[in-house]
Each structure stands twice: as C-alpha cells, then as structure tokens.
C-alpha cells in the first residue's frame, strides 16, 4: 500500500478503523507521531488508538490550517482557532484527550485557553453543575451559607 502512496504522505488509522492520508508535515505536528517517524517505526499505516474518526478528522483539519497559514496573518489564525474550539463539552473533552495523548501543542494550547475563557467568569454553582456534573439536589442540600460565602466577590 505504501508504494502507491505519494512521497511525504502518511496514513493515519483511527481507533474505529478509518484511514486518513495526510502530508507528513501535517502529521508530525503531533510530537508522538513525529517521534515514530523519526525512529522509522512508521513505515506503513500509523495507528492512532483512542481517537475515533470524527475527532481525528478535526485534529487533522486544525493541523492542516496551522501548517498552511504560516505565512498568513496571525489574526486570521486566531479567528480560526477561536471558531475551531467553539464546541460542546463532549467534543472538547475528546479533542483535549486526543491533543494531550498525541502531543499536539498548538491544539492543546488553543483548547485549554478556550476552556479557561469558558469558566473564567462563572460562579461556583455553574462550575459544579455545568462542568463537574453535580446534581442540583446535591447543591441544594449542602450548606446554604457556605454556598453564599463561596460566591462572594473577592475584590
């Protein structure tokens, strides 16, 4: 299969078996894949365990954009990044896990910054319910005064 492949292209196989043909420069934005390529243990298809096709496609889209837009204005890339990371919590979680596991620094950076912006101004109750999955009754039955104290302003 590798013989029919264009030079400098790699095949990435997602956890659910889908294959993506990706330029090497894009694929090696993942440090983990870069190490594999450098150690020459990536002759054929590179398996990307724990990352399904849906998420892998997103990661590749991000890396492609960052690879192409080296010459572009930094502000355009910023706009792309902020639109790219604007997703639901499930997708964000999967993307963070993939970026962390595959060591894609730029993506992890953009994702963490996005989550930080999401939670920055939130109250303690919001964090507990929306991000930590606390049930409403847990909060209502816990100490009422304590909760008021938690949400006071520290300025």
């Amino acid at each position: 299969m590798s013989s029919s492949l264009e030079k400098n292209m790699l095949i990435l196989r997602s956890s659910d078996g889908e294959e993506f043909i990706v330029p090497e420069v894009v694929a090696v934005m993942s440090k983990a894949i870069k190490n594999m390529v450098e150690d020459e243990c990536a002759s054929n298809t590179i398996p990307v365990p724990n990352v399904d096709a849906n998420i892998l496609a997103m990661v590749i889209e991000f890396c492609k954009k960052h690879d192409e837009s080296e010459a572009e204005a930094a502000s355009d890339l910023k706009t792309f990044d902020s639109e790219f990371v604007n997703r639901g919590q499930e997708a964000l979680y999967d993307l963070i896990t993939a970026a962390n596991f595959r060591d894609v620094k730029e993506l992890l950076d953009a994702l963490c910054q996005n989550v930080a912006e999401m939670i920055k101004g939130k109250s303690v109750h919001h964090i507990r319910i929306q991000f930590l999955g606390y049930q409403l009754f847990e909060i209502l039955t816990s100490n009422f005064i304590w909760n008021i104290w938690c949400d006071r302003d520290f300025d």
């Binding site: 963070i96 920055k120 991000f131």
Partner: protein, 364 residues
C-alpha cells in the same frame, strides 16, 4: 467533562485564570482547593504571568491610615482615562496588624512594617500574611535607623528580606557603622552577612529597589577625604555589595532622591526647586554614560516616586503622596492621572496579582 481531565490539563487550564476567579474556585470542590493551593500550581501560574517583566507593575496598591488598602488596575494605563480604586476587604482573622509602610514588592508579595517596626509579608490578592521574627542584628545606638529591601534569589528559589541597620548621630560620613542581615523565607530566620562598604545614612531611610536580582539604595561612598553619591547594589545570590555610579557624579551638587525602576531601568528623581525637576534614567545598567535626563515642568513636587513605564514611553510617578502624574519626556508634557475613590494620603507601590503564599515552603 472536567472531572475526567488529567491533572496536568487541569493545571494548564486553571493557570490561565485571573486571581479573582481562582480565589472563588477554591470552594468548588476539595480536589480544586488542593490543586489551587499546591506550590507547583502556584509556581506554574506565576511563571505564566511573569514571562514579561512589565507584569510586576500590573497593579497599584495604596496603603492609607488606618491600615486600609486600595488596589488600582494599571493595565495599559496609557490608553485609558478612567481609573478606579478597589477597596480591599479583609476578614477580621486575616487583617494584618497595624501596618504603616510598604518596603518592597515582588511576585505579588509586599514587605510591610508595622507600628512596632515588626516586618511582615502580605499577599494582598489572597490576603495571606506572615509576621517575620525580629532580627537580632542591629547597631547598638539610640540613633539607629533601618533600611529594608525585599527580593528574590533565583539561584536558590527563595525570597529574601534584607535589613541594613545603621546609626548616624553626628552626621559624619562613616561607612563602618552598619550591620546587614538577611532573612530567608525558606528557613524563616535571620543571619548576618558582610557589612556594607557604603554609608547608608539618609534623611529618610528608603527601601531597597529590586532590579536584576539585586537590591539598590542611594548611599554615600568615601574614598580618602572625598565623598560622593553612589547607588549601592546588593546581589541577592552571592550577597555581596557593588556600586552603580550616580548620574553626574562629577558634579557633587546633585542631590539624588527617590530611586526607582521603570521599564527595567534604574531611575532617580533630582529636585531642583526652580519650577522644574529632573528625572534621570540609566538606559544601560552599570554604564555611567547611559544616564539620560529629562525635565518635568509640571509643578514643584516635594518628591516624585517612579512607578511604571507605559508602552508609549510615558512615566508614571507618585507625587508627594497624594497624586499620580503621567509624564511624557518626548513631548515634554505632564498630566495628573485621576483615580476615583482613593484616600487623601497614601503610600503607593506597584504589584502583581499572584497566589504566592508568604507561608509557602519553596519547591525545589
């Protein structure tokens, strides 16, 4: 979603948040509290915010009688015309005792002195404070003065307080009359180091100014029968004294006052009492020829304390303890910077918001 994230990712995300959010989020859950209080996290948060030296001057802290604190956001002050002082509230058990003066500021920690001349360290962002033990190293004299300085020794990852005890009852320049001691936060104790070769007696003892890991004071140097004004520097890593030449040290008539650091350069205020005052900036550290002068034609100030430099090269000064002045040396213009809700008289210092705890052992 966030329950499942690995700890290093949580550190990455939370270290991007401002202090007000982090203080609030300490009560989200026990794991969050222990993460936010962890010395490693505090260091990560600090490092993310100190990549630029400018951040050390992000905010102003104003201390007024009776032990009242106000904080002013200084971010991009050159482009704003509205400033408001926030009153810092302390709960009764957090309230520091009667603090009188601010003697130093670094990494969000303030070195303060109270009515009984006891030192303590305060982080105004987290309200944590720590009273330091008394230094037993002081000159035995009725006319004893103390100068203090506060800084960070990066070679040992330790915060240090320096106390120079000196006496001067006959107003004669005499370098031998001083005892220098250093307090390490990691060991919580004072120890004596070599005496300063300079005469530290001044009309008004002034705080040590921190630049490039060394504390600086305006002092007098004696060579034979000649005396001259020099800036003494104490390297916090090897704890030895050096000297930095004052501007125009050939011309002895210059009276150097109010040492400060702006934009990473040493800076002094020289009053001329003729409707205009001089400010000298040492553009290249240690190079006497790099002292550059500009004149301020605003009004007569008793003193100007250099605080900060904007990206448009405007200098921010505290003037006579009751107003802030913005000077543009290129256009030779000065204007008052009006801050809403500030007390009538105050002691002002720049600081940054951090989680660094005065009670924290360093992590190495």
């Amino acid at each position: 979603m966030m329950v499942k994230l690995p700890e290093e990712i949580m550190v990455d995300i939370l270290s991007r948040l401002p202090i007000t959010s982090l203080c609030r989020f300490r009560c989200v859950s026990k794991p969050w509290l222990s993460l936010i209080s962890d010395p490693y996290f505090i260091k990560t948060h600090l490092n993310r915010n100190t990549t630029n030296e400018k951040h050390q001057h992000d905010r102003l802290i104003l201390l007024s009688e009776p032990c009242d604190f106000h904080s002013v956001d200084l971010k991009s002050f050159e482009f704003r015309d509205h400033f408001e002082a926030l009153h810092l509230k302390f709960s009764p058990n957090q309230s520091p005792s009667d603090c009188m003066e601010i003697w130093g500021s670094f990494d969000g920690l303030l070195l303060m002195l109270d009515d009984f001349f006891d030192c303590f360290l305060l982080n105004p962002s987290t309200r944590q404070s720590r009273k330091l033990p008394k230094s037993s190293f002081s000159v035995n004299s009725e006319y004893c003065f103390d100068s203090y300085g506060f800084g960070y020794d990066s070679s040992r990852d330790d915060y240090k307080v320096v106390r120079i005890s000196h006496h001067d009852y006959d107003y004669e320049v005499d370098c031998a009359d001083n005892i220098v001691s250093v307090y390490n936060l990691s060991t919580d104790s004072w120890r004596r180091i070599g005496d300063s070769p300079f005469d530290h007696s001044r009309d008004d003892p002034s705080p040590g100014i921190l630049l490039d890991g060394a504390l600086h004071w305006v002092t007098t140097s004696v060579v034979g029968s000649n005396t001259s004004c020099v800036i003494a520097s104490l390297d916090l890593a090897d704890e030895t004294f050096h000297s930095v030449p004052c501007p125009g040290s050939v011309d002895d008539s210059i009276v150097v006052q109010q040492l400060g650091v702006v934009g990473g350069c040493l800076c002094v205020f020289v009053p001329r009492h003729c409707g205009c005052d001089d400010v000298w900036v040492m553009k290249e550290y240690g190079v006497v020829d790099s002292w550059t002068k500009f004149t301020i034609n605003y009004a007569n100030f008793t003193w100007l304390k250099p605080l900060s430099l904007s990206s448009t090269c405007e200098f921010l000064f505290e003037a006579s303890g009751n107003k802030f002045v913005l000077c543009n040396p290129l256009e030779k213009k000065s204007k008052e910077l009006v801050v809403q809700g500030i007390p009538d008289y105050y002691d002002a210092e720049t600081y940054m918001e951090t989680l660094v705890s005065p009670n924290m052992p360093s992590i190495t």
